[in-house]
């Protein structure tokens, strides 16, 4: 990891701890998403946690550090792609079963990870969409400068 912007961000202590916590938060968000149909949580909560892990990075290291690693354009596109995929899921349901947004996959065995048909898939799409969108909102709100315009 090379930090090209050492003067931005918070103090050394926070930066060091951030190195340890960021991946933990990220992993935990994904855990919440994947287990959405087994335990509380789901795409929205998990997506926000994933977004907050990047917010955390932005807070600790400054925005330039993060912007070297992620691409705004790609995030915006991914958000739209995830949204389109959700609608397409609905269309596949319409095609297969005759009802918009119907479950077209087998429901699997209860209490296991691969159950509940399309719910885990939708959770993942929602997670991608929510996390990308909310990070972008944070980014735009945080980097809006009063002087411009």
């Amino acid at each position: 990891m090379q930090n090209n912007f050492p003067n931005e961000g918070m103090s050394v202590i926070v930066k060091t701890i951030t190195r340890f916590t960021v991946w933990l938060i990220f992993l935990y968000g994904l855990y919440i998403v994947i287990h959405g149909h087994l335990s509380p949580g789901g795409g929205f909560a998990g997506g926000v946690i994933v977004a907050l892990s990047y917010v955390h990075l932005t807070l600790a290291y400054g925005k330039n550090f993060v912007m070297e690693r992620v691409n705004k354009f790609a995030m915006n596109s991914l958000e739209a792609i995830a949204a389109i995929l959700i609608v397409l899921t609905g269309l596949v349901g319409l095609y297969v079963t005759g009802y918009f947004l119907a479950n077209f996959m087998g429901i699997g065995k209860l209490y296991t990870l691969l159950s509940a048909g399309y719910i885990p898939m939708l959770n993942i799409f929602i997670c991608v969409k929510v996390s990308m969108g909310l990070y972008l909102v944070f980014y735009y709100l945080a980097s809006f400068k009063q002087q411009e315009g």
Binding site: P40, G42, A51, L52, N123, V137, F138, Y140, L141
Partner: protein, 179 residues
Amino acid sequence: MPVDIWLYFILGFMIIGSIACLEIKNILSSIITIGVVGLSLSLAFLFLGAPDLALVQFVFEILCMIILIRAFAKRSIEVRALQRDVPETIIAIVILASIFVLSIFAFKDMPSFGKPIVRVAERYLANAGVETGSQNIVTAVILNYRIYDTLGEITVLFTAILGTLTILRKTGRKKRHAE
């Protein structure tokens, strides 16, 4: 579980917190106070048997707080008069108080706390596991039975994000060049 006693406590907590939030003069303090109110709401959800909501409310609360902190720019805008004119405030309080008193009569018809009428949800609770394969019935409701709502919800979020980006464009109108 002595849920109703805890809820009296938490609701009292929330009411005091929100009044404090509206009356404190420092804006950053207001935002923190509303954060506390939101956190206690999340606690109430935890006691009311809604861990899903507790989780979502909590993470959204933190995000809201961060967004709101960003929304005001400088620390120096602190102490100032916050109220409109006194007569207006009094009129508002009187109107709201009368609505409150009238509503007490109306609320007498509500089913009492802890004994709701459950008709439609009874089937969800009985059959959701078999019908949808989802262990978490709330997830089964939002992502299978009532998924159309969730589509709307995603669209709301998409709209809000797009709207935010739209509003924060650098310039809105093009300069007319053919002068």
